[in-house]
Amino acid sequence: MISRQEVEHVARLTRLRFDEDELCRLQAELGRIIDWVEQLAGLDLSGLEPTSHAASLKNVLRADEPVAGLSQEEAVANGPDVEQGQFVVPRIG
């Protein structure tokens, strides 16, 4: 089960908004999915470490040398609102 307040809280965390119908449907769907993943509680996982990398790769390092990357012009070319090579955003509310 997942409460209406929890659904609204997670929506805020993820910067998503839903109308009343969507919230009702999501609450039911998420509740069913959460109930379903509860099956993991039935496994005996005592003493097992959580997997962090499935192929057990350790730290990968490289020399810290500058290489050519995208130009500023290329990097901002997809921006929805760009001025003087910078991304423009609305004011912080």
Partner: protein, 495 residues
Amino acid sequence: MSAAGGGAALDVTTLTAYRCRELLARGDVSATELTRAYLDRIAAVDEQVQAFLRVDESGAMAAAAAVDAKPRSGRQPWEGVPIGLKDIFCVKGVETTCASRILKDYIPPYDATIIAKLRTAGLIFLGKLNMDEFAMGSSTENSAFHTTRNPWDFDRVPGGSSGGSAACVAASEAPWALGTDTGGSIRQPASLCGVVGLRPTYGAVSRYGVIAFASSLDQVGTLTRDVRDAAALLDLIAGRDAMDCTSTGLSEPAGTPGRADLRGLRFGVIEEYMGEACRSGVREVFDAAVDSISALGGVCEVVSLPSVERGVAAYYLIAASEAGSNLARFDGVRYGHRTEHSEDLYEMYVRTRSEGFGPEVKRRIMIGAYALSAGYYDAYYAQAQRARTLIIQDFARAFERFDFLISPTSPTVAFEIGERAADPLAMYLSDLCTVPVSLAALPGISIPAGFSAGLPVGFQIIGPHFSERGLLNVAYALEQSLDVNTVAPLAETAG
């Protein structure tokens, strides 16, 4: 003009990539003629199949002309062979959307590493293929743009998320295609469309420039008409990449598979996938393929991997958690969709994301954030990662006794469009047999094994880490023995 078979238009319906390479090398066909033939085929059938999101006719023809301008002796082996690309790969200067409204009109300023490799090898990019939005789905119905249809039955799904890639090969719209597999997104659509789908070991292929879904699971792989093409395409894309520190490359090239028998090899039939979840028509085709392995000299025995039945639940939590983090970057600031109504920054984020993402993507972002949120992290995410450790151990134990593990790729044949769309859980269970392989970072291949009521049935072979060379040889031997038709009986209605 000297197209294969005389002066008539080249028939591409049965061509493999190897055959394309031969025709080009002998001068039986020019790169321009070959590319034109595939573009004509796309024009003739894609109105029905809808595998492509965008066909890059001018780009493909220009690349083909550049190949033809070089002397044949100065070309590389695969130069001039066309390919289809899932819309998850960044191709410099070519719109790349991941089948999402939030990335509509996005033009990558760089090539994914694998795209750069194929470009250097001289392959011709025919266009971008449909998929479930951000690769989240098992039917390609979650594309924001349209639904791709299964070339064997237009009322059915091609599988997903690489549904466009699988359908395009099955419909002969390209000799081969690239896809990605997070929980089964290459193997399951390959199974449902009757083509060969290879997911390499995690790390064999660079993910740089591949739009991320779940980074500990995402892996690039191949959709081809046969096993030899899969090996060739894998060797073209594999390798360590400084731009992806999780990439390691293969331990040895796949080469050209040619194994004729399976003597001396032990195959474990995964018991947990033989139960009621496996539909009867699929079971019969699977059993017949097991008999073929035995006839080729392989030894098949049942093996139990108890943890795999919980694999989908663990996968779902891990993938959704990673997706929630990866998709936080879509905020309307640097690229992609931005809402038109935004009086302040928070409102801009919320409206942009709510307008840009589809329902399944939102569902997974929500689940992921919930699983990672304060008070639930241990109960869900950490528990799922412990279950993943258990699954890895079960596979490791099985590989002490067996060289390869086998199962059906999908418990069912292609389902009807709309059949599972309203029920997320039913859709997730489409990946029952493929997901644990992803969790354990193992290589897996689906090859066509036969038909149930006219619909393709796939056979999954799983190997230890970096066993691609052996895995492809085994798949080749079985493929030769089964000799299954991979050409969907399509009528050309347009073009």
